[in-house]
Symmetry: C2
Subunit: 455 residues, 2 copies
């Protein structure tokens, strides 16, 4: 790689924005998937404005240099892993955010954290619902790129349901605006929806217009303790067959114990599984929902059922669930799954994961956004143990095969990234893969945007 063209870019953007210091670059090679095969970027660029992004993309297009767009680097499937010789475009300095109370929208650059958008909305008495467990450390741009979900999505939907408009820099450097603050829009193809979840393959999102809601009503929390994961998954179906809870989260015994080790909050270490459900329906409707949840828990063999309308108590259990990934991560390296199935297949999925763990002699902890059938089997392994690492990799693939076999998906909310692309054709089939490639080629003919992801 000649450095001459990079000088050209530094001349355009200034040397503050273009980083080539190898020590700093090293910190941008990996995302949270910790791919050992991560490459080394030729430069890190931290644009501030859409115009900066256009300069970068035009320069990359002129010189045939790939661009990896990175938000907060929390991808669990390698969506923001560096590629040798590519430009790493970090959106971390793109932090403008305005809340428009008249239209109840947030207009955000991609570098804001999800929690910052939530907080800014809340300061105006409004609510941005999507709440990935990583909401305090993940960026809104990354949420858009992966169509991120979270805990309240079972009732309130995922990121795409809140994206009203986008500004996108295309592969040739043009910036387009699609959608806007209007709540309904059938004019033209659904391009806004196409860019959401496109994992940086079709363009670089430089601004997002998000729909905000009136604040969520205060929720009641019901916690159920079960002797086995199977009983807990049956309880999930008993609830989702009747109501749409505001939250319905699942933890198995490994994650319960790992969280208890970390947080020491008094969780039952003997439990086989824990369900944390919430209802935010107001008044008598909420009371009826809580009763239905309690009854479903008891009816499916819960050993203990605990309900509280105290928000602090409820938040403690939600925080415990959110802490599960970092807590289990203390037990070893993780291969983090994100498989989802149609709800009736949830017990079979959870039982199947248990069998895969036994068969491969690896520890798999299952946590789940159970109410929408989206599970996170966490495969724990010691990377220094080559044999265990290989067995973990085998289990990783078998879990995806299982989900596909049950009519489900290899990823409910994290995206395919680089880690799961080998399984994508098994889920989508050759015709849908070919269609995907055609759209990619139409929008990024040179293949410079986030190469190695999805395709």
């Amino acid at each position: 790689m000649s450095s001459a063209p990079l000088d050209e870019l530094i001349a355009s953007l200034g040397d503050q924005m273009v980083v080539t210091d190898p020590d700093i670059l090293a910190g941008y090679r990996h995302d949270r998937a910790n791919d050992p095969d991560a490459g080394t970027p030729m430069a890190l660029i931290r644009p501030v404005t859409t115009a900066d992004v256009q300069v970068v993309v035009r320069w990359c297009a002129a010189h045939g240099i790939p661009v990896i767009t990175r938000g907060a680097g929390t991808s669990l499937s390698g969506g923001a892993t560096a590629v040798d010789g590519a430009v790493m475009l970090s959106t971390e300095k793109m932090r403008n955010l305005t809340i428009d109370t008249a239209t109840r929208t947030a207009v955000s650059q991609p570098g804001l954290l999800n929690a910052e958008v939530k907080a800014a909305a809340a300061a105006h008495g409004l609510w941005y619902p999507p709440d990935p467990s990583s909401f305090e450390i993940c960026s809104i741009g990354g949420n858009v790129a992966t169509n991120a979900g979270g805990l309240c999505c079972v009732k309130y939907g995922v990121t795409t349901d809140y994206v009203l408009g986008l500004e996108v820099v295309l592969a040739d450097g043009r910036a387009i605006r699609i959608g806007g603050k209007q709540l309904k829009d059938s004019a033209g193809l659904s391009l806004t929806k196409l860019f959401v979840g496109s994992e940086g393959l079709l363009g670089i999102v430089t601004e997002v217009t998000l729909r905000l809601l009136p604040p969520q009503a205060s929720a009641c929390t019901v916690v159920g303790t079960f002797a086995s994961v199977h009983h807990a998954s049956e309880a999930v179906l008993a609830i989702t067959a009747k109501i749409r809870p505001a939250m319905l989260e699942f933890m198995d015994s490994v994650s319960i114990n790992a969280v208890e080790d970390m947080l020491k909050m008094g969780l039952d270490r003997e439990a086989g599984a824990l369900l944390v459900a919430q209802s935010d329906a107001p008044g008598p409707a909420g009371i009826a929902e809580v009763e239905l949840i309690e009854k479903a828990f008891s009816g499916c063999g819960a050993t203990e059922v605990f309900a509280t309308s105290d928000p602090a108590e409820g938040e403690a259990f939600t925080a415990a669930r959110r802490a599960a990934i970092p807590a289990v991560e203390r037990l070893g390296s993780l291969l983090l799954e994100d498989v989802g199935v149609p709800l009736p297949a949830l017990p079979e999925l959870i039982d199947g994961v248990e069998a895969i763990a036994a068969q491969n002699k690896v520890m798999i902890s299952v946590i789940a956004h159970a109410g929408d059938g989206n599970t996170h089997p966490l495969i724990v392994f010691d990377p220094a143990d080559a044999d265990e690492s290989a067995r973990a990799q085998t289990a990783f693939g078998q879990v995806m095969d299982l989900a596909i076999g049950l009519g489900g998906t290899i990823t409910g909310e994290h995206g395919v990234g680089r880690l799961k692309k080998g399984w994508l054709p098994d889920q989508l089939g050759p015709d849908v893969m070919e269609l995907t490639a055609r759209i990619k080629a139409a929008l990024d003919p040179e293949g410079l945007l986030n190469p190695g992801v999805l395709l």
Copy 2:
């Protein structure tokens, strides 16, 4: 057109499925946009299965014959208008529907009416929310093609929010399945969302998997009578700034009187505008919402405010609003608008439409899904009066220019079709139009699917 290839198609499909009788064909030339320039199809084909559709599309591809896909023919923007020499593919015989209570989904062929899907879901204690005013006569396939909205969308979202999966026959005759019964899915590009609202340009939807909800709670209805449209539009903003009502509909004096002429239900003929709002929040939350709506009506100068928790009374007002288009249609031919704006611009849009009517000396009746800023100015004219017809056409364009100028859209829920495509570039701009054309070319390189729509 040689008839030899058509014989080939009749040999494959049988002569029941392929219609060439000119009297029958005449009935399939127009949709509800009544385009005087509608063409005459070479044949009408009424497939039953996906395989039938594949045969038709492959035959059309082989002979370079365009295909217009038609649901129930209720398009108000010419999305299903015939083109000379094209095949008209009607989905009216594709009527399989299954309700899966375990996953709370409906799997429907495109030919079912929206009302039939709603009724089948209701028979299982479930609810399919999207409710175009035409729900009793429009097809679910057409709803998917236009991303149709309706009255409850202000709280419950539009068609795309309920489409979990699709089967689509592509331009080359291959059938693909995308999405499914899983509630969350981030695997691959958001192709399901891309096909929703694509107006028959990218493929032919042969099956749709729809998310169903638990039944809607019973709603309270609040009706406000206003001296002017401006006061009513201010009341809309006072409500939407605070809550998300389950319905917030608007009628002006022309539509009030037209409906009263037709239904004789005792509407106030002196009213300048009527708002019909609903809250379906249960218990005290619902009471608080109703009070807020009443207060907003009174605070914005309502001359009368009437609230009822009687479902039949509420439905009478909803039915009155739904009857507005057929009622106003009795006054003359209609050019039916569907413009939407960000909510704060609603009063300016409604005032501007009044000015356009005065300036062009045409009658324009405004009805609206006011709660999401989506209005239907109905331009009334006598097609036998060439001068008035020309003035109506001028007004039609000016209303779209006005909406675009206010940062809005030329269509909130009806689609662009053939009638509005002249204005689409003004809304989207050349870069988005070019992007649209690239996606169209990638999926339908020969341009045989619904030519003349959008592009």
